[in-house]
């Protein structure tokens, strides 16, 4: 299911919940209303240090409001928000140098050139990244002397991303960092997010792309109607929902009772048509090994062995009763 090989990387924990060190973001019972409309309705969110956390949800779920409250733009109507242990509004002056922010759009003088704006953001920080190297890394060199208003959408997005990281922050908030990007630029952004994590930067990003959350995040918070309806690693979330399925074919009439004895409780097995077998339950590597071992012991060659695991898309549908991208 995961589209990326599980490369060992420093920040990646085997299981998703933030553990060990102090969380970098703690939101509890956050409520934010705009007039009669409640945008965020009792939201709880914890982000572990050194992790990539994806806040996943449809448009209007309250993702941006939550992020912008963490960034100090909004004052909570109720609940508490702590970022790096600080109150984003009361302790703004101490917090701002330590975080990097990528807004959903805009944020640059329409008459400024990409390198000029990035150089400027660098000057506002004490120990900025090397600007030419960052320009090179994000492919912004091609912007040349073009001013911001004439850059392509993708170039504008990459500049905003560069501006978020140039000050060498501890924690980066990216609001829909890949919206409107072509697949190649999207990959490049994902790579940068992974490099940030590898170097110990915590990342909170919002997205309405399932594959993005699955590919990037250690931890996913699924947000719907202003609340977190589930949080965990992509693996946990996918395992926690409906059962997964393992299929294989072999000779007809295998003794499934004997197989089931070797498998954990709650696992079911059936011969759908002669020789076509289906096992449902929590399909993990251990279960797969048990099945193949059992087959070996019984002289069965399991052909066409396949695992169907639930995707975050299924989980989301199950939790909210709605498609993520309607």
């Amino acid at each position: 299911m995961k589209s990326e090989p599980a490369l060992p990387s420093p920040g990646r924990r085997p299981s998703g919940r933030p553990s060990g060190s102090h969380p970098v973001v703690e939101v509890s019972g956050l409520v934010k209303r705009y007039g009669p409309k409640t945008a965020v309705d009792g939201l709880d969110l914890t982000v572990g240090a050194g992790t990539v956390t994806a806040v996943l949800g449809p448009n209007g779920a309250g993702k941006t409001t939550t992020i912008e409250t963490c960034e100090g733009y909004r004052r909570p109507d109720a609940g508490t928000v702590r970022v790096l242990g600080l109150d984003p509004v009361a302790d703004a002056a101490r917090l701002k140098p330590r975080i990097g922010v990528m807004l959903q759009s805009g944020g640059v003088y329409s008459g400024a050139r990409a390198d000029e704006m990035l150089r400027h953001m660098a000057k506002l920080h004490a120990h900025p990244l090397d600007v030419p190297a960052l320009i090179e890394r994000l492919g912004l060199g091609s912007c040349g002397r073009t001013t911001y208003r004439r850059l392509s959408g993708g170039q504008q997005q990459r500049l905003a991303l560069a501006m978020a990281v140039v000050g060498r922050p501890e924690l980066v908030f990216l609001d829909e960092p890949t919206a409107g990007l072509d697949p190649q630029a999207r990959r490049a952004t994902w790579d940068l997010v992974r490099e940030l994590r590898a170097d110990g930067v915590s990342v909170v990003l919002t997205t309405h792309f399932m594959d993005e959350a699955e590919a990037l995040a250690d931890d996913v918070a699924i947000v719907d109607a202003g609340k977190v309806v589930a949080q965990g690693s992509p693996e946990q979330l996918c395992r926690g929902g409906a059962e997964n399925t393992l299929r294989f074919t072999g000779r007809p009439g295998l003794d499934l009772g004997s197989l089931l004895k070797a498998l954990p409780d709650g696992t079911a097995a059936a011969e759908l048509t002669p020789g076509a077998y289906r096992i449902t339950g929590t399909i993990d590597p251990q279960l797969l090994a048990t099945v193949t071992t059992w087959c070996a012991q019984h002289g069965v060659m399991p052909d066409g062995i396949s695992v169907e695991r639930h995707t975050l898309e299924d989980v989301f549908l199950e939790l909210t009763g709605r498609e993520l991208r309607a």
Partner: protein, 255 residues
């Protein structure tokens, strides 16, 4: 970029360096914008040359340039501190520039300080240019330079307050339209090129309370008539400055 490149090392730059960088950027943005240059440089220069050399408006006794130069200096202040600043800031607000800078280490007061410094730098360039043109046209100014400086500073404060109030409360397009309209109306009715005594008495006494009339009248009192300190005009500008900056501080919305 190699491993460890992004290892966190956060920190704000020293305040002076931030304000310096922000002022330099704001000034470059101002000077790079073609419409702004039209407003701040080309229109005042053209008006000064045109009305000094062609006898279109009766400017009273003495050389036209002696009457016009103080008015054009007042216009220059208004064009930069009010019209230009309102339009630029309105669009910066609209396009999230103010919002994004709000998440940077630069404090908001430091951003506003930088904007003011950028306006002052631009005004110095305008005053130098217009003074050179005026001297070339035979201008012979009088009076107390300190009074001139005080008028320009208070005028800048008054117009900045009004410009920022507009930029921080109206939509960017509305600011664009309104700032240009106000510029045009005050150009005609604020004693810039048309002497105030061309207006009927009742109207005149109201117009004299406008910040542009107070600035152009004050500059004229000093530079043309040699007055030492035009207290009345300074007082009017001070009231506008307090009202404008006070309301801007209260009502300005960053997003």
């Amino acid at each position: 970029m190699s491993a460890g490149t992004y290892a966190p090392k956060p920190g704000a730059a020293p305040l002076g360096r931030m304000i310096g960088a922000q002022t330099a950027l704001e000034t470059r943005m101002l000077l790079r914008n073609g419409e702004q240059l039209l407003l701040t440089v080309i229109i005042p220069s053209l008006l000064l040359v045109l009305f000094s050399t062609v006898d279109i408006i009766d400017t009273g006794k003495g050389k036209s340039v002696d009457f016009l130069a103080p008015g054009i200096l007042a216009l220059a202040v208004m064009s930069t501190a009010f019209t230009g600043q309102a339009i630029a800031t309105g669009f910066e607000r609209r396009y999230g520039v103010l919002k994004r800078l709000g998440a940077s280490p630069l404090p908001r007061w430091a951003l506003m300080t930088s904007k003011t410094l950028a306006v002052l730098v631009t005004e110095v360039l305008q005053v130098v240019l217009l003074t050179v043109i005026a001297f070339a046209l035979g201008w012979s100014p009088h009076g107390n330079p300190l009074a001139v400086l005080l008028l320009l500073v208070l005028g800048t404060a008054a117009f900045s307050g009004l410009g920022l109030l507009m930029a921080g409360t109206l939509k960017a397009e509305a600011t664009l339209a309104a700032a240009n309209l106000v510029f045009l109306l005050l150009l005609v009715a604020g004693g810039v090129i048309v002497p105030m005594d061309k207006f009927p008495g009742g109207v005149q006494s109201v117009l004299n309370l406008l910040p542009i009339s107070a600035l152009s009248g004050g500059l004229r009192d000093v530079l043309q008539e040699g007055a030492s300190m035009p207290w009345g005009n300074l007082a009017i500008l001070a009231v506008w400055a307090v009202l404008g900056l006070g309301s801007a501080a209260k009502f300005f919305r960053w997003e």
